[in-house]
Symmetry: C2
Subunit: 250 residues, 2 copies
């Protein structure tokens, strides 16, 4: 669950280098099986790496035909818009952003104990007004504010005091911290909505108050059957967007 | 690809009846394997059915523990907010809505030939201004407008004239019509955004112009490597919302 997507990132980098060394614009790349053999990784890893390169616009894929060089690797340009998230993997967003070669940073991060709002109380299944942790973060990509996250966690998880301090830096992530309490996050649910950016969120994202923003209301469910984390995310859509991909097996 | 989710809908209905007949509030349901045996369906079908019942609020699931009756089956109440979509299955939204026991309808549907706008031309890979099909539909759930869809399709798909007339009724769906041209949709991409409802969309959805709405920009890729369908959807979020679920394997 907690692995940063290192294998796929390394495979993506290896394929970038392969393209730079051996392939021209429009060339067809070797098959997934052949790439897996050459890179000595699994086909799953190759597929994840190709997904990332496709999102970067480096390759195009003609279904049933193959994968082609659409653009030769060069310095990253243009806004960052996509990070490949395997739906079966619940991990750290900064790790994923770093894995694409972009630099994540946290220009704003604060953890504080607050009384649970009605919404946070309902999500976490605690009494309204009970003290909980609230973590407010702004995640930037290559220096541009991209996502504002409001996380809510009970003061104790699985009876163990929970300290969110590590997530106010890039090194920490909630799944790891929750895991340290002997609990494992096994399910994340994110409800997608449109909203108008309020003053606070707008200021952090660098947009005008009242700008329409994509938001998610997320709950992370532990293997104990309880919700251990409730998160509201706000995305600045010129910088970060969510792409849902559905495929039919070949 | 085109199967309406009949098996899962039938399994969900069978589990509803099972709960009504044999189970009380708070009771634990049999395991997935046991339900699969009793219903004589696959575990995949049971899982999809339980996903639907969970979205309906009928059951709760304690991960690693089991599935419990959260609410006894009764007449559907409250707004419809969720339809379970398996990400590996590209199918018909009205079919899925019907499979949850709700009634889909099309209070508005129109197909017309129009010159391709820059956005539609770019998505479909045709010259700007080339004549294409534009289908505008409003999909209602139990009589309440829920989704406005703007579909764009070339006049010919795979060299075969394309007639969108069937999708202006509930019986037709794009994957089937595209398949009739000898082409198969193998990949759908949906980019999620927040926008303000314009006059036309607002009127169809029954909301005020300027209301923030969730929208998706979708492209459907055929096995020939081309985009055969470009769709913009607008969701009325009090009626229909999108829930992304990520799970970690047990």
């Amino acid at each position: 669950m907690m692995k940063p997507p290192k294998r796929a990132a390394m495979a993506a980098q290896a394929i970038r280098e392969l393209i730079a060394a051996e392939f021209e614009l429009g060339d067809q790349l070797p098959s997934e099986a052949e790439l897996a053999r050459r890179l000595a990784v699994s086909r799953v890893t190759v597929r994840e790496a190709l997904g990332q390169l496709w999102l970067e616009g480096l390759i195009s894929r003609r279904w049933g035909v193959g994968t082609f060089v659409r653009q030769r690797p060069g310095p990253a340009a243009g806004p960052f818009t996509s990070v490949f998230v395997d739906l079966h993997d619940i991990g750290s967003l900064p790790h994923r952003i770093a894995a694409t070669g972009r630099t994540p940073s946290l220009p704003h991060a604060r953890a504080e104990q607050v009384p649970a709002t009605p919404e946070a109380a309902a999500a976490l299944g605690v009494p309204e007004g009970e003290r909980i942790w609230r973590v407010e973060r702004c995640l930037a990509i290559d220096g541009t504010p991209a996502i504002v996250l409001h996380d809510h966690v009970p003061l104790k998880v699985n009876g163990v005091p929970f300290d969110p301090a590590p997530v106010t830096g890039l090194g920490g992530d909630f799944p790891t911290l929750v895991h340290a309490t002997g609990t494992r996050i096994v399910r994340d649910e994110a409800r997608l909505e449109a909203a108008l950016a309020g003053e606070g969120v707008a200021k952090l994202l660098g947009v005008d108050a009242g700008t329409p923003v994509l938001t998610t209301r997320q709950t992370s469910h532990a293997d104990t059957g309880t919700v251990v984390l409730s998160t509201r995310c706000y995305y600045r859509q010129e910088v970060f967007s969510i792409l849902l991909v559905r495929t039919v097996p070949y």
